[in-house]
């Protein structure tokens, strides 16, 4: 293994040890206390049902951010089993294997459903990553538990990915996903059209129409297919715009 890789892995290990301490609520030396909004890292929340394509979207976006040489970290939140207390942290396997070697720091974090400590430790973890000069932080979570309404506090922008065969427009009206999202990315557009789940598009359009008429806020909706490379550039551009708007590290 070459020396620069060894150095990088040593740093990653140091970061990892600090995060373990934060998770265990042990005191760590907080190098600078960041109140939300002052943190220089741009935090992107990705929420959505299992299988919607969150990891695939992250892969596509990380690829683009790496091309403009951003330093990236990815936090993968996975729930703990209510029954056994154990967890199978399975999100990592879906990300590109090469990330660590490219300097991307990836960490799986198991979360309790209603644990009050998680939001606080998430903030500290983000502060820590900022101290280590990470510029873009992805936070991936399933987005069905109560926990995820809190995600808003820790992200500069949230992308939600709904399941595509979801019923009818009432399901969308009930879901809080649209309340918290800045961008809704409807993945697997190719499948929707193919299986005449284009009904789903009708439901979604109907829901958005209702919301608009009721004076509600609607997020940006992007239709696409990560598999076919559609929609991801549009999302990337929106992210870059937001980064510029927030005045974060050009």
């Amino acid at each position: 293994m070459n020396p620069s890789d060894i150095e990088m892995f040593k740093i990653h290990r140091e970061i990892a040890k600090q995060i373990t301490k934060i998770e265990g609520n042990l005191d760590i030396e907080i190098l600078h206390e960041n109140i939300f909004g002052n943190s220089k890292a741009f935090k992107i929340g990705i929420t959505g049902s299992s299988g919607a394509g969150k990891s695939s979207l992250i892969n596509a976006l990380v690829k683009k951010f790496l091309l403009i040489e951003k330093k990236i970290a990815i936090l993968l939140l996975d729930p703990i089993s209510e029954t056994s207390g154990g967890s199978l942290l399975g999100d990592r396997i879906k990300l590109d294997k090469k990330y660590p070697e490219l300097g991307v720091y990836v960490r799986s974090i198991s979360t309790h459903r209603y644990n009050q400590n998680i939001p606080k430790s998430l903030k500290q973890i983000v502060n820590l990553l900022t101290d280590f000069n990470f510029e873009i932080i992805f936070i991936e979570t399933i987005g069905i538990s109560q926990q995820d309404a809190d995600i808003r506090k820790y992200c500069d922008l949230i992308i939600s990915m709904p399941a595509i065969d979801i019923g009818n427009e009432l399901q969308y009206m009930k879901s809080s996903m649209f309340e918290i999202a800045d961008i809704v990315f409807v993945n697997k557009n190719d499948k929707m059209i193919q299986n005449s789940n284009s009904d789903n598009k009708i439901f979604l359009d109907e829901f958005l129409r209702i919301k608009l008429q009721a004076g509600g806020r609607i997020p940006d909706v992007v239709y696409g297919s990560v598999l076919n490379g559609q929609g991801t550039t549009e999302i990337f551009n929106k992210l870059c715009k937001k980064i510029a708007l927030l005045g974060l590290h050009g």
Partner: protein, 125 residues
């Protein structure tokens, strides 16, 4: 119960992972935090995961017969990068005569094909 963070890892071209998944599932059902690496990783890639996730233990699964080579590539490096803190156990098709050599390289425990899942659980305590 002392909950451990465990990486179940496959290194190399060996494409058989049902055993690894069974162990992963079993350990999760018994309260541990488990990460499964998936197939076809290099030693360096597994090292990276182990370090980034700050795992307590790596469980290596090798059924392809190249365990001596893989362990030689991976374990000393992991031990040195983790300050000897991370433990490594090995499962798969490991002939008994190979075990002393593997232990010399740093393997903490071998679970051969006659082992029971509970053996792993007991060892973890």
């Amino acid at each position: 119960m002392d909950k451990k963070k465990i990486l179940i890892a496959k290194i190399g071209l060996d494409g058989h992972d049902r055993g690894a998944k069974i162990v992963a599932s079993f350990l999760k059902d018994n309260g541990h935090e488990v990460i499964y690496s998936g197939l076809h990783n290099s030693a360096q890639q597994i090292l990276a995961i182990a370090l980034q996730e700050d795992v307590d233990i790596v469980g290596l699964s090798i059924l392809s017969g190249v365990h001596k080579n893989i362990v030689a590539d991976f374990v000393p490096l992991l031990k040195s990068m983790s300050n000897n803190e991370t433990l490594v156990f090995l499962g798969g098709l490991i002939p008994d005569p190979d075990i002393p050599y593997l232990k010399d390289l740093g393997i903490d425990r071998v679970f051969n094909k006659d082992s029971r899942l509970n053996d792993i659980l007991m060892w973890l305590k």
